[in-house]
Amino acid sequence: MRKSYLLENLQEIVGTERVSTSAAELYCYSCDASQIRGMPDFVVRPASTEQVSKIVRLAFENEIPVTARGAGTGLAGGAVAVDGGIVLDMSSMDRILEMDLDYLQVIIEPGIVQEKLNDALEPHGLFFPPDPGSSAMCTLGGLIANNGSGMRSVKYGTTRNYVLGLEVVMADGTVINTGSKVLKSVAGYSLTDLFVGSEGTLGIITKATLKVRALPKERSVLLASFDDPELAGKAVVKVLSSGIVPSACEILDRNIIEAINTYDPNIGLPQAGAILMFEVDGTENSVREGIEMIKDVCSSLATSIRAASDKKERDEIWAARRLVGAAVSRLDPLLTRVYVGEDIGVPIKELPGMLHKVREISEEFDLPIMTYGHIGDGNLHTGMCIDVLDDTQWDKLNKAADKIHRTAISIGGTVTAEHGVGSARAEYLGLELGKALDVMILIKKALDPKGILNPGKMGV
């Protein structure tokens, strides 16, 4: 009775074509790219802020959960309706509403895919810098809600650095606007910053004003090979402390190198214990200078150093790096990459130590752990592949992931540098944040008193 009442109301708000309760759809929306599962009761694909507002109002009045979802590429269950209710698939709100090219700003709807925004900006010589591996499919809404970043965050920062203002539907359906088009404002609490990275637990983002930047004139890629990841970690510390700011600084360990070479044999990365991939962008002179400086700094630790010969090679290396998270599954027909414990961040000076700990954990649990990630900002992705039909391997994997999380926290790091907390890492927030988590809970209660917005996430 209640379900049919809600369905009728949802259909009235968005039309019958934009609501689904079909078996196939509910099943497909019951997960993202994590191991978290939750079956929604309804999937709705709103087309406007007004519709989102009415849906959330309906949910508020009837106290049913609402979980916003972009492309469902998340790795922590952030878009999974763990308590059922409504999944709001925001991907059809995908317009660029305004391109203010002179002032380097765009206003977008949350469903637009990151790469499509950059395709639209590129002819104007502009780009939106945060570039996760999932840039070809993830939505800007998801990126903002998770404060996602990616390979270029070492120089360009995270999504937060580019959000000037948001339109947000609050838990009772009220629509508010945070921030403004001005580049500086101290008028009130920075609510924009509060909603960025709040994973849909405080409100639903329906519009965003973003800063964009001019595309650099030149980019160059340098590959430095090392005997082991710890030496590579030491080289990163040396490079960054020498004042060079590469636009990307990635680490690939032995297994990841093999995975990339298997995925695309044309790339032919050198065999090594670890490779650092540096990218430097800027003017022709600054790029040349940056590359030479990195070469000098790395020379005492690296076994070999080579630059990508041309744009094609550079783009191929980068494209393969983007997909490596999933490509490690190709190393063995029986093994699948499982995204658990995959997103720790540690202070830069702790990098060599953390890499050493990861190796110890791998040995302790007799589980190969592949390491890659944005080492330039201390963000390590630890990749584990198991036979997912084998319960013993699941047990080992979960124990290893738990130890990785706790180790990162113990050295002042974080359980998630860019993928989000979701349900997957919610249990660690108390340990990592201490009393600050209590403040988060107070904020959550104030803004979402009935607890309908993405319940079961972020430890709130």
Binding site: S20, S22, A23, A24, E25, Y27, C28, Y29, C31, D32, A33, V43, R45, A71, G72, T73, D89, S91, S92, V113, E115, S134, A136, M137, C138, Y263, L323, V324, G325, A326, A327, S329, R330, P333, L334, T336, R337, V338, Y339, V388, L389
Partner: protein
């Protein structure tokens, strides 16, 4: 579910790469219409999920174009999984009306179009040139025989100079049945018997669907080539003249991506005129929207996919050339700005 399909599904990490390339998802927008969604639904079915209309639509809207598989970083094989799920459901008597019609017509009349007239009437006055024994046999296919009879005759008229004959009682290759989950062994046997009698070592076809079926689903070791491959090796014998044209080329999925035949059609085109590639091409070419039974089962969806594909035609070309009658048919439906030619049409223009 067999072990290899289960393993393929488990390979999928749901990263969503397929969402960004699936031509069906691009139109429909619901998760169940992406390859990732289909893998989930396939897994659901194996776990006892009830097969309702939404499940049918998820599994049957796949054009089997294989772009998801090409791009999948994890190495999953969604097309194989989809085809096997379709087959399993058909074995349980679960199929859509479109699947039933395709199967009935193909088995009853030897073609999925439901045509009852003489299949070989396209031969016309070339009937006299059909030989009982030959090394090469031209397999025309259903669509070419019934919908493009003149083109088919002209194709044969070029081929017959190279000691090529035809199957006098050709029936559907079985592709529409195999792609939609039905058994096609009866049709395959009829064609195979004739090929054996003729003694041919190579089958030549102008249809991408026939090619992939004859090549990959038929037993035995008869070689299968596309007419573009066959003629690309004999260009000097065709006396072609250069044409002042610029064309673009649509890679049929089952010719290009599925069988790696990209260069032969381009070699022919470039020996005749200028070629400018479509926005997506070769391995990453987008589908025309007709394959996998989608044109028959979901004509409106198929049309929308075609519209998206013809938008990729470069601005200043004179023709869109392709090498498959099914692609040609559907690309025309998409309303392209320029006429759609079969590669044989272009070849003939150059032959005077």
């Amino acid at each position: 579910m067999n072990e290899s399909d289960l393993r393929s599904i488990l390979k999928c990490v749901r990263c969503g790469t397929c969402r960004s390339v699936c031509p069906v998802f691009d139109v429909i927008g619901w998760e169940s219409a992406s390859s990732r969604g289909r893998m989930l639904v396939a897994h659901g079915i194996s776990q006892g999920m009830e097969v309702d209309e939404s499940v049918f639509d998820s599994i049957n809207t796949c054009t089997t174009c294989g772009l998801c598989e090409q791009m999948c970083p994890s190495g999953a094989s969604p097309v194989k999984v989809v085809e096997n799920v379709r087959h399993k459901l058909v074995l349980q008597g679960k199929m859509t009306d479109a699947q039933k019609v395709l199967r009935f017509e193909a088995l009853d009349k030897g073609n999925p179009l439901g045509e009852t007239k003489d299949r070989m009437s396209w031969l016309g006055d070339s009937k006299k040139d059909v030989k009982e024994k030959a090394d090469y046999v031209f397999f025309a296919g259903c669509l070419a025989s019934y919908r493009y009879p003149e083109l088919t005759k002209r194709t044969f008229d070029i081929l017959k100079k190279f000691e090529v004959t035809v199957l006098q009682e050709e029936v559907c290759c079985g592709s529409p049945l195999l792609r939609t989950g039905s058994d096609s062994s009866e049709l395959m046997s009829k064609n195979l018997e004739q090929i054996k009698k003729i003694g041919a070592h190579t089958i030549i076809t102008g249809c991408a669907g026939c090619l992939t079926t004859l090549k990959n689903d038929y037993p035995g070791d008869v070689k299968v080539v596309h007419v573009a491959e066959f003629l690309a090796d004999r260009l000097e014998e065709l006396d072609l003249k250069k044409l002042d044209l610029k064309v673009t080329y649509h890679d049929p999925c089952h010719l290009g991506r599925c069988n790696g035949i990209f260069d032969a059609p381009r070699k022919i085109i470039e020996s005749i005129c200028d070629l400018e590639e479509m926005k997506s091409n070769r391995e990453k070419s987008k589908c025309c929207g007709a394959g996998g039974g989608v044109l028959k089962g979901y004509p409106e969806l198929s049309l929308e996919i075609s519209k998206n594909r013809v938008e990729e035609i470069p601005k200043d070309v004179d023709y869109l050339v392709t090498a498959c009658p099914l692609c040609r048919t559907n690309l025309k439906r998409g309303g392209p700005r320029v006429d759609v030619l079969d590669i044989i049409d272009l070849l003939e223009m150059a032959m005077g």
